[in-house]
């Protein structure tokens, strides 16, 4: 019953006027608009392009100054912060900053290990050996599949594990590496 009523509305709607005269003649305004000389679209396009170039230029300049400032401070940064800034690159090679930090931590590790009992030292060396073997294996796998996200995650986990061991030994307290760092 309600459908019949609803259909009646549709039928009735067909009788509604489709042509309605405007209360005033709209043509003069239309004629004025189409007679008006067209503004060139190139002016705003050039203005927009100039604005984009200016924006990109300003952004690049700010980024350059900021990065340059950071590079200038790099030698004074503590080893744990070098981890944070290290990028392994597309081939997963460790950057020189990371290598230096690693060497420094390894040197600290040797000093710390010398203070520990031989058994504890052996345990730590054994753990580090396992982690480094894992890093080596994962890196080799990544050579075959450079874009494998799972392997990237595993490599990161291995580096984190190594960092964790080194931190426990050398007293580093930060672990701030992320997957994007690889």
């Amino acid at each position: 019953m309600s459908n019949e009523n609803e259909d009646r509305f549709v039928e009735a709607a067909k009788r509604l006027a489709t042509e309605i005269s405007p209360e005033r003649d709209l043509w003069p305004d239309i004629a004025a608009a189409i007679d008006a000389p067209k503004r060139s679209k190139w002016v705003p396009m050039f203005a927009q392009a100039a604005a984009v170039v200016l924006l990109v230029g300003a952004s690049s300049a700010i980024t350059y100054v900021a990065v340059k400032g950071q590079q200038g401070l790099a030698p004074a940064i503590a080893p744990e912060l070098i981890f944070e800034q290290t990028s392994f690159g597309g081939r997963y090679n460790l950057g020189p900053g990371f290598q230096d930090a690693r060497a420094l931590l390894a040197a600290e590790l040797d000093v710390e290990l010398a203070r520990l009992s031989p058994e504890s030292g052996n345990d730590i060396q054994s753990n580090l050996g396992l982690v480094r073997q894992a890093i080596h294996d994962i890196s080799q796998a990544l050579e075959q599949e450079p874009d494998n996200v799972l392997l990237q995650k595993k490599l990161l986990m291995a580096y984190r594990e190594e960092l964790s061991v080194l931190r426990r030994v050398s007293g580093l307290s930060r672990n701030v590496m992320m997957r994007n760092d690889i």
Binding site: S2, N5, E6, D7, R8, F9, V10, E11, A12, A13, K14, R15, L16, A17, T18, E19, I20, S21, P22, E23, R24, L26, W27, D29, I30, A31, A33, I34, D35
Partner: protein
């Protein structure tokens, strides 16, 4: 075609012709308007303005908005005349532009929509003098429909476009057009059943 050189005031007289003449004239006016003949375009305006204005008025429910939309639609049509290939009727092509104009203006800002709505609520229905009797009740009920349902109902039920055409004009799927029509019918029935509407 000598009429094309007549004064603008003569164009209204040109409409008093047979359907065949009008179709032939329209085709000629389209060709000439595509060559930037403003008088031919005015003839097209005179031929189609009432239908375009009617569509805009039923979609917006507001005289001022309908006038602006009609003018914008014809200005856009003038600018796009070169793109009209005759794949559809010129009236359908114009309606598509008009619907896009209405939708574009409605999307402009929520504040503007609210203004249009408040003006529409305060003013008597602009269609009250166009439709009479029970059709006036229906017409006013259509104006009170939510925009989506109103647009689908006007295009499909009033102007007779298919759901595919309606969906195409409104940028929605044909199924959505059907759903909006169903919603419109239900809302109309709720509004009108208390008024003893008899179609």
């Amino acid at each position: 075609m000598a009429l094309l050189t007549a004064n603008c005031s003569d164009y209204s007289q040109m409409m008093v012709t047979t359907t065949e003449d009008t179709v032939a004239d329209e085709a000629a006016w389209i060709t000439q308007a595509q060559r930037a003949d403003r008088k031919a375009f005015e003839a097209l305006y005179r031929l189609h303005s009432d239908k375009v204005y009617g569509l805009c008025l039923r979609m917006t429910g507001n005289v001022s908005e309908a006038e602006d939309c009609t003018q914008d639609a014809f200005i856009q049509a003038w600018n796009k005349m070169g793109k009209f290939r005759g794949d559809s009727a010129f009236a359908t092509w114009l309606h598509r532009i008009a619907v896009n104009t209405v939708l574009g203006r409605m999307r402009k800002s929520k504040r503007e929509q609210d203004r249009i709505q408040s003006v529409a609520e305060l003013s008597p229905s602009p269609l009250s003098t166009t439709d009479t009797g029970e059709l006036r009740d229906l017409s006013e009920a259509i104006e009170r429909l939510p925009a989506g349902a109103r647009h689908a109902f006007v295009l499909h039920a009033v102007y007779g476009y298919s759901h595919n055409e309606t969906g195409d004009m409104l940028g929605i799927a044909a199924g959505t057009s059907k759903a909006q029509l169903h919603r419109a019918r239900r809302l109309l029935m709720q509004q009108l059943k208390q008024q003893g509407f008899e179609a």
